[in-house]
Amino acid sequence: MQYNPVQTFLQEAEELLAGIEESALALDTGERSEETINQLFRAFHTIKGSGGMCGLDAVAGFTHHVESLLARVREGTIQVSPRLAELILQSRDHIKTLLGVEQGGDEAPAGSGEALIAAIDEFARAETAGGKNEVPSSQEPAENIPGAEVAWRIRFRPNPALLSCGGNPVALLNELRSLGSCEVTAHAEEVPALDAIQPDVCYFWWTVTLRTAASENAIRDVFIFVEDGANLEIEGLADETPREQTVETKAASLAIPAETVESIANAAPTAIRQKSVARESTVRVPSERLDHLVNLVGELVMTQSRLAQAASQNGGPEFTNPVQELERLVAELRDDVLGIRMLPIGTLFGRFRRLVHDLSAQLGKEVDLVTEGAETELDKSILDQLGEPLVHCLRNSLDHGIESPAERCQLGKPPRATIRLAAAHTGSHVVISIKDDGRGIDRAAVRNKAVEKQLIARDANMSDEEVLNLILLPGFSTARQVSNVSGRGVGMDVVKRAIDALRGSLSLASEDGKGASVSIALPLTLAIIDGLLVQVGDDRLIVPMAAVTENVELMRVERERKNGRNVIAVRGELVPYVDLRKTFELGGESPAIEKVVIVQHGGDRFGMVVDRVLGTHQTVIQSLGRFYRKIDVVSGATIMGDGRVALIVDIAAIVRFAARQCQPARQ
């Protein structure tokens, strides 16, 4: 693959923009955090610099204005305010649009950039004029008094790849020299002999004593492009720090071992602070390559099972060991490769923070989004499809669930509402819950609506839970008027369907006046699952193992005794079952003793009658292709060891299908 600096920049910018969004939302609370402001400044600075280098002048030009604004925030001449956060968010969006143009996206609306720049300038002017009389904030007095020179000791150990990446230490050091008087010492003791040296690796490291009026941040900014993988320590020295010490270091030149330098640094009694920047090394890989890798592993798993089958049937005993070894290796490889595709769900949560911020402003509500378990990992392909349903749930909470601040005060609740978005691992599933402290789901309203829409009979006897689940039915929406936040004609049924498609399950809970919650349980991965292989007639089917609770036997006599009612007693409890032979219209006679695979679905158990249970099977899920898109009772297919195809049963869809078949009979 050809190295493309623009592509790399675009990827990097994407991450930076996500970081900017997060930091800006943190600023929104009006709290001044040096760390956050620095992060913002650096992110914009990097976008400006790298963008300029890649020839994206529009991006660099625009970013320059934001950077100048932030520079003044950092100096303390402009205070942190919600308006500032708003401007940063708008700027971030504009930069995203500009970057999108590079990737073939739509052009930014004409004049939008100029308008935003004008707004930024206007804000800066107003704030600076207003804030003039204020006493500068109390932080770091020594650094902020203009003109007062402070001595700094800088230890810079570059990333070994500095030179091969086109980094130039001379330019870097000259930039430091431009800040003030500088004593630079290069340390060459780590340069190996010729037989061990790699010509493009940087072995030198530097200590610099710099006397400057510039702040630590200004010094750090010099290193902003070479920080990755580097070790940078900047410490303030007391003004009296004898200059001779530096001279001594220099005069002694190579005779000085590293420890001495270390001890001098440690001995400086008035070191103000010390911070080293070391980052983990990571590799950027386009997700298509990972998907390809997963596909390859899938094929490998299938080939391995064919090989195992062939070896057990025709192979000699000498095949047994290698085939078992191969099975172990393939399983390990599969787990690792799937592990690479796992992403923390926090990448998704970040987006929601912005959504909640924008929507609550639009609806005139005050809402905090609290997230938990952002580090919980989920397969990338699931994460990609999870965004929409979660957005819909959040919109619902914000629009229907949460009351206006005035209403909340009347009810004795704090005016700021909280939506809690949490993710956690439970066994082979990840459970995501969205919980608000709003008015809860009005069960009476739900019931009335369902009667009105003829979804249930007027006198239907339903449990609380069943009533709640009515909102998951297609076409159900209790919003009196259609707002542009939620209630766009699609309802929770879309969410339910999306979650079903991900092989997940969804449940609702609500407490009147206290709030509602939606929990979504999702499998960890979609590519390869553990399946239970079953046989009906000549056909084989796979039931996802995660749903299977047990298998029981069903005698023909027992079936006849129940008089055609499809229920079976499992340890004293009646469990309904679906006859897969009838449902799928498969031919053949059913054996005298059938098997019922009992599965868990949405809190209920139900059985599927099959001829035989063949055992567990590592199932590589293959999609059926667009010709079979309309078949919803199977979610995919897999290729067996003997080359035959087995369909994978979609449990939720089977329940729906069976219910549809029963309905005419009931009426």
Binding site: V184, L194, D195, D200
Partner: protein, 105 residues
């Protein structure tokens, strides 16, 4: 870039522009030509010298020192001297020990 040895085999003369682009080549040539007779490196005809090249010169000095001998650099060109100064490389790392030695080249 060019490296040549005088008849005595003790002086190695490097000419031309030394930068990361030729670092690989410089490394190879130094490995080949730096036998245990070389004592002096003549840098008077070096037009440019970047960080990577300076590292290689330091490595050359270390290599010779490991063999128990000393390698001296003589006739530092302005380009080499400038690079050393810019990088803050101590004079002892890369310089002629004395005037006489420079003249001896």
């Amino acid at each position: 870039m060019e490296i040549s040895k005088d008849e005595s085999g003790t002086v190695l003369k490097i000419q031309g522009s030394l930068d990361i682009g030729v670092a690989e080549e410089l490394h190879k040539t130094l490995l080949e030509s730096l036998d245990d007779r070389v004592r002096l490196m003549d840098l008077s005809a070096v037009d440019a010298c970047d960080t990577a090249a300076l590292q290689l010169l330091c490595a050359a000095r270390k290599t010779v020192e490991r063999q128990g001998n000393r390698l001296r650099f003589a006739g530092l060109s302005a380009a080499v001297a400038d690079s050393c100064a810019s990088l803050g490389l101590p004079v002892g790392e890369l310089a002629a020990e004395s005037e006489e030695e420079s003249r001896a080249v």
